[in-house]
């Protein structure tokens, strides 16, 4: 049997992995949604973009419910505090999720021009809200929240939207736009595909610039580098992220006729970029910017040994099954989508 402390640590790793998978999996549906606001020149191209993610976005989105549900099951106290401290951002996220989901699913439903326009911009705005709120939320987690010794948030609502968090939101937007542009470029043919390729060239460079400023800001934040200094081997993670980011730029610019490879490189950047941030959270998830001692530690928040054990085995069985059938589903929709399908 696994001992309790090890289980809690395993659940921290699972928590990180599930969130990272979510960010990777939803990056291109959200990116496709955001670029749908300005890139397609007409409705036919908008629908082309929608169809490129149509069969997949719903299944990919479930990873965020698993991430939230997993937080709730493994660390109830952290779940409770996370959502309470970020009350307004979470409500915005909820509205973004509903808006995006309804609009993308129904955009093909109706021939009514006006309604199609509403769905198009609803899809785009919903995607933008989700992406921006995720950026703001994770930036606040990475920097630490104003939490006092009694687990009470002492900051203000405006404090959540500090400049660094806004830069985080911009970074997420650029990341996801790159992801979405490369995916749409890969899945479609014609003018839209060409436009997406050229957008991806710009945004992938934008990602590198924004990420550089963002990460310098983080390493200058008190307490961010503690785990890195304690375990220098962790520096491998941001290093891999940088390699993926550079590979993405090179592939997007040099191999723009094969956007799929740049797309994979960008997913790699997102995964390891997320990992770069979350390893600094240990052992807190919710860090305190007042005093490191005040953070909500995973050891204080963990569920019982029985619950953690059960959920660990459930995850061990079902996560691979889900990954297999989700990856399999991509093989069912291989044809490129033409403009007037």
């Amino acid at each position: 049997m696994l001992n309790y402390e090890l289980l809690i640590n395993i659940w921290f790793v699972l928590w990180c992995v599930i969130w990272a998978i979510y960010l990777v999996a939803d990056s291109f549906p959200l990116g496709a949604g955001m670029l749908a606001a300005f890139l397609p020149k007409n409705m036919a191209q908008t629908i082309q973009a929608a169809k490129s993610v149509g069969p997949f976005w719903g299944g990919n989105q479930v990873w965020i419910i698993l991430a939230a549900g997993g937080t709730f099951a493994a660390f109830p106290l952290i779940f409770s505090k996370m959502f309470t401290f970020l009350y307004i951002p979470m409500m915005l996220l909820l509205i973004g999720i509903i808006m995006r989901g309804v609009c993308i699913e129904l955009i093909y439903q109706d021939e009514n021009r006006e309604l199609q326009k509403i769905f198009r911009y609803g899809w785009a705005i919903g995607s933008l809200i989700i992406t921006a709120v995720l950026g703001v939320a994770f930036s606040n987690f990475f920097r630490g929240l104003v939490i006092n010794a009694n687990y009470v948030y002492e900051g203000t609502l405006l404090g959540l939207f500090n400049p660094h968090a806004l830069l985080g939101a911009l970074l997420f937007v650029l990341f996801f736009l790159t992801s979405g542009a490369l995916w749409v470029a890969h899945k479609t043919s014609g003018e839209l595909s060409v436009k997406c390729k050229s957008l991806a060239k710009k945004t992938s460079i934008g990602v590198a610039v924004a990420a550089l400023i963002y990460i310098i800001g983080l390493f200058n934040t008190d307490g961010f580098a503690v785990n890195y200094n304690a375990y220098p081997i962790l520096y491998a993670i941001p290093l891999i992220a940088v390699i993926f980011a550079l590979a993405c730029i090179v592939l997007a610019v040099k191999k723009s006729n094969r956007p799929f490879f740049a797309f994979l490189a960008n997913l790699g950047t997102i995964f390891f970029g997320a990992a770069t941030g979350v390893v600094t959270l240990y052992p807190h998830i919710l860090k305190s910017s007042i005093n490191p001692e005040y953070g909500v530690s995973i050891f204080d928040a963990a569920s019982s040994e029985l619950t953690l054990t059960l959920m660990f085995y459930a995850a061990l069985v079902f996560v691979p099954i889900v990954l297999i059938y989700q990856l399999w589903s991509y093989t069912k929709f291989k044809e490129k989508i033409p403009e007037n399908a």
Binding site: G58, G70, S80, T84, I88, I98, E105, T307
Partner: protein
Amino acid sequence: MIEDIVLLSRLQFAITVFFHFIFVPLTIGIGIIVASFEVKYWKTRQEKWKKLAQFWGNLFKINFAFGIVTGFAMTFQFGTNWGRYAEFMGDVFASPLALEALIAFFLEATFFGIWLFTSHRKPALKAISMVLVSIGTMISAVWIITANAFMQHPVGYTLAEDGSRVILTDFVALITNPYMFYMLIHTLLACFLLGAFFMIAVSGYHLLKKSNVDIYRTSMKIGICVLIITALLLPAQGMLYGHFVSQVQPVKASAMESVWESGSELPLYLIAFPSDSQERNLVQAIGIPYLGSFLLTGDPRGEVTGLNDVDPADRPPVAITFYSFRIMLLLGVLFILQALAGLYLLRKDPSMESPKARKYMKLMICSIPLPYVAIMLGWVVAEVGRQPWIVYGLFRTSDAISTVPAIQIIFSMGLLILFYLLLFCLFLYLLRKAIIAGPVVKEY
């Protein structure tokens, strides 16, 4: 101040959960029927089954699009508004939710995408995907009702030494909670009844217009068969459910029947007007001897604890619970009559062209909101009747909230209400248009 936040949080939860539940029963209720049509087409390749699958599938799709995403609201609110509840219950309550995502949501969402974007040129993939979606919706019901059943009748747990939270001790007890089985079967039957009702009304609309009669006669027939079965099973199963409730939640049971004074051999009053403030029924008349005791306990001479023998602080709002339960029962009786009438007309004339049949179909179109109302009232009985407890006998609703500034709750609730109203109009517009359009559905 705290009372305000409790009230606001409850109101917000009620709004979001009821809005979500507009979409859930139809998703479950016609999902299984759409899946049958898909399988039928796959096996026979007859055009008729394809058209049925396309038409009902299209309505299913609209419903599903709204249903899935509005369900996020509840998960979020356990953290945003019910933080103390999340901390108290997380160890037991959250595993079913996480398992629901892991086992059911992924299945429904992934295969819904595949089903939607697969044309009928690949009928096997299309059919299997829809079957998996339908199975997913039902597995999802199992897990969420497992979680809810624990709130009604906690099992398989122990309290932490400081009483600050519940700790899971027996997972098998949690997932075999008898309350879960009663509630699950009741809910699923209600969903199938609503699906059948919806099919009858929509098929009736097209039969009245005499458009595509061959297709809609088939769905009319299926609708009436499902309706008669579910309408008869629901009260029978509901009575057993009621007996179980009076064993484990005696106060809720007394409130459902508005029994104030303890006693045995209680009559059932057909007319009663309970008053919470005066702690009695203002009027009660036309008592049917023994029926009250029988409905609550299964024994005509059964002993029932009256509400006046319960501390007022432990009573639910009696009038709301009582009226909701009563109206639900009346609607249940009405559904049986409507089912029998449908069956009679169908057997007499399967073409449903007689003037009486036409009147019946018009009536059914007007009755469409009724099963929705019945289901909502059923949930009111279950959840308001559970008050003042959020976890029955263990944890009070008033202790369960997050301390969020009231202004933030008001802001988010205002935003949600506005947003939901827009969505609801959109839903009705699209659904209506799709119903009127009939079985001409384009495929992606």
